[in-house]
């Protein structure tokens, strides 16, 4: 069991982050932990993999899973939670409506970071106002002024919340799980990420290497002719991935040795496949991690 309350699954595009998040959710529920899996993924692949409907866009939806713990899914859209924050911290209905109908807010609500940065600008005074006016024009400045004015009563509440989230992400019980492709070219990036994460005060847990090709030992009479393109490729991919995993093993310390998920012969689009990946992970770690 990973000793965490929050697991943040990270990695480059297409390496299998959402699939792994779903697998870890299933594993935790099977280990009798009530678990919520959340995603910002705009393609909503989690919805398909865990078999929940569109309802998960607005609320937490329970996954029909036979397990001692409950498993729920929530599909997040960046603008939704921000709308909710505005509704929560606005001192009265008039302030709330003023913000929600602001032209600038409507454009920015999809980007939380952007909104917070704009708010920070609002707090920093008017030193560069003349410059901004020259660059972006009066229209936008008027919108910004109205926006900051409308936001003023909310700023402290949101700032405190942002600081709480910042601290939560650094707690020992918040663990980052890095997912990687198997090729050796990803190793340097993973080590760079691990270093940066620790420098920033976060905690890196296991590194998961996904989609690892099987290794073909020696001559295999079942494979096509040795000279064929396909035969060479099968052998080469197995060997390439072995090199990548070995290199990671040699660089990572004993506490976070890579967990290997082999390339599957089907796509992880349902609970049965996710259950299979969970079993593979358990076998790979001797039950030490995602049980």
């Amino acid at each position: 069991m990973i000793p965490a309350r929050i697991l943040v699954v990270v990695g480059s595009g297409g390496v299998g982050k959402t699939t792994l998040a779903a697998v870890l959710g299933v594993a935790a529920a099977k280990a009798a932990r009530d678990t919520l899996v959340m995603t910002f993924d705009p393609s909503l692949r989690l919805k398909d993999a865990l078999g929940v409907g569109e309802a998960a866009r607005d609320a937490e939806v329970r996954v029909p899973l036979n397990a001692p713990g409950a498993l729920a899914v929530s599909l997040l859209d960046a603008s939704g939670p921000f709308d909710r924050l505005v509704r929560r911290y606005a001192p009265d209905a008039a302030s709330r409506d003023r913000i929600l109908s602001n032209r600038l807010f409507r454009h920015l609500a999809g980007s939380l970071a952007g909104v917070l940065e704009y708010m920070a600008v609002g707090r920093l005074g008017r030193g560069a106002e003349a410059f901004l006016d020259r660059m972006v024009g009066l229209d936008l400045l008027r919108d910004m002024a109205e926006f900051f004015q409308a936001f003023a009563p909310l700023y402290e509440g949101l700032r405190t919340r942002a600081e709480d989230v910042h601290a939560l992400l650094r707690e020992p019980e918040t663990i980052f799980v890095r997912v990687n492709g198997p090729a050796p070219e990803h190793v340097a990036e993973t080590m760079f990420f691990a270093r940066r994460l620790e420098e920033a005060g976060h905690h890196l847990g296991p590194v998961v290497v996904n989609r690892v090709h099987p290794r073909v030992e020696g001559t295999n009479p079942g494979l096509p002719d040795d000279r064929s393109e396909g035969r060479q490729l099968v052998a080469w991919l197995g060997e390439r991935d072995r090199r990548g995993v070995e290199e990671l093993r040699s660089l990572l310390d004993a506490s976070r040795q890579p967990m290997v998920i082999p390339l599957l012969d089907e796509q992880p689009t349902n609970l049965a496949v996710l259950g299979g990946i969970r079993k593979t992970l358990l076998a790979d770690t001797g039950g030490a991690h995602a049980r």
């Binding site: 901004l132 972006v136 070219e185 991919l237």
Partner: protein
């Protein structure tokens, strides 16, 4: 990889090509066996130059260009207000990078750089690619006056016009990447009223020789099943996309100059075939 190959292909055909990436991890130099540029323009041989562009540098340059007085520019660049706007304003950085590509093509590049005939931009992953398009139109809509507003609308028309800007979408032949690729294609139509020039399907498992059956061998069975997934997804793409579609197989070569050479050859051959077919 495909960006590097496209750059190399067009440079080999006599065009002056600048390949730009804005991933801070720098990938293009690996593919051409040249050292990391650290942001400088680096010659990669045969009419191809590379640059790793950091969006904040682009915006800083814009400030220096607009505020010709050095002292004033320094004051703005060190101002926390400017830093926060440059960092946090959604779409501004992306607009800056696209604007930079446009300006280089128009001949407003730095001293020492011959005006390129073509800029190849290694854009972010597909999901973010859609955001890039939205960012562009967002800035053009929100900022309607002032230099930034003018630049944003100019870029939106430049990127929307197929005479000036081509879009090549790269995908894997798997369920989710294909869905995202199709979403990008729809996004291009809805946001910029345009279509892509080609879809490149990368990392395909080539068909195995039928005579060597042995389905009970796990490696062969896995290989065939992955090929089957690829074929299903290629068929799905073809039902929704009637434009050029280039297939690139997995190749038994590590990432580096040799792989770029190989991909360039195949891309050139297939794109030529596609052009003939269309002609």
């Amino acid at each position: 990889m495909v960006s590097a190959a496209v750059g190399r292909l067009l440079a080999a055909r006599g065009r002056r090509v600048l390949a730009i990436e804005f991933d801070p991890r720098e990938n293009l130099h690996h593919l051409r066996d040249v050292p990391p540029s650290g942001g400088d323009i680096t010659a990669a041989g045969g009419g191809l130059v590379l640059q790793n562009l950091q969006p904040h540098q682009v915006l800083d340059e814009l400030v220096r260009e607009r505020l010709k007085l050095g002292m004033l520019a320094r004051k703005v660049l060190t101002s926390p207000v400017y830093r926060h706007v440059a960092e946090g304003a959604p779409g501004l950085k992306e607009t800056g990078v696209l604007g930079r590509a446009m300006r280089l093509i128009e001949g407003h590049g730095p001293r020492g750089l011959r005006r390129p005939d073509l800029v190849v931009l290694d854009a972010p992953a597909t999901g973010h690619g859609v955001s890039l398009l939205h960012a562009l139109t967002l800035v053009a809509r929100v900022v309607r006056s002032g230099p930034v507003g003018h630049i944003a609308s100019e870029i939106a028309s430049f990127v929307g016009d197929r005479k000036h800007t081509g879009v090549i979408t790269v995908t894997l032949a798997e369920e989710m990447p294909v869905r995202e690729c199709l979403e990008l294609i729809s996004g291009l139509a809805e946001t910029l009223a345009r279509r892509a020039e080609a879809i490149v399907v990368n990392g395909l498992y080539p068909p195995l020789d039928r005579s060597a059956a042995a389905e009970d061998d796990p490696a062969v069975a896995l290989f065939r099943r992955r090929r089957k997934i690829n074929e299903t997804q290629l068929a799905r793409l073809r039902t929704r996309w009637n434009g050029p579609l280039v297939e690139l197989p997995f190749l038994p070569v590590d990432r580096g100059p040799e792989l770029t050479r190989e991909v360039t050859l195949r891309l050139g051959r297939d794109l030529d075939a596609v052009s003939k077919e269309l002609a």
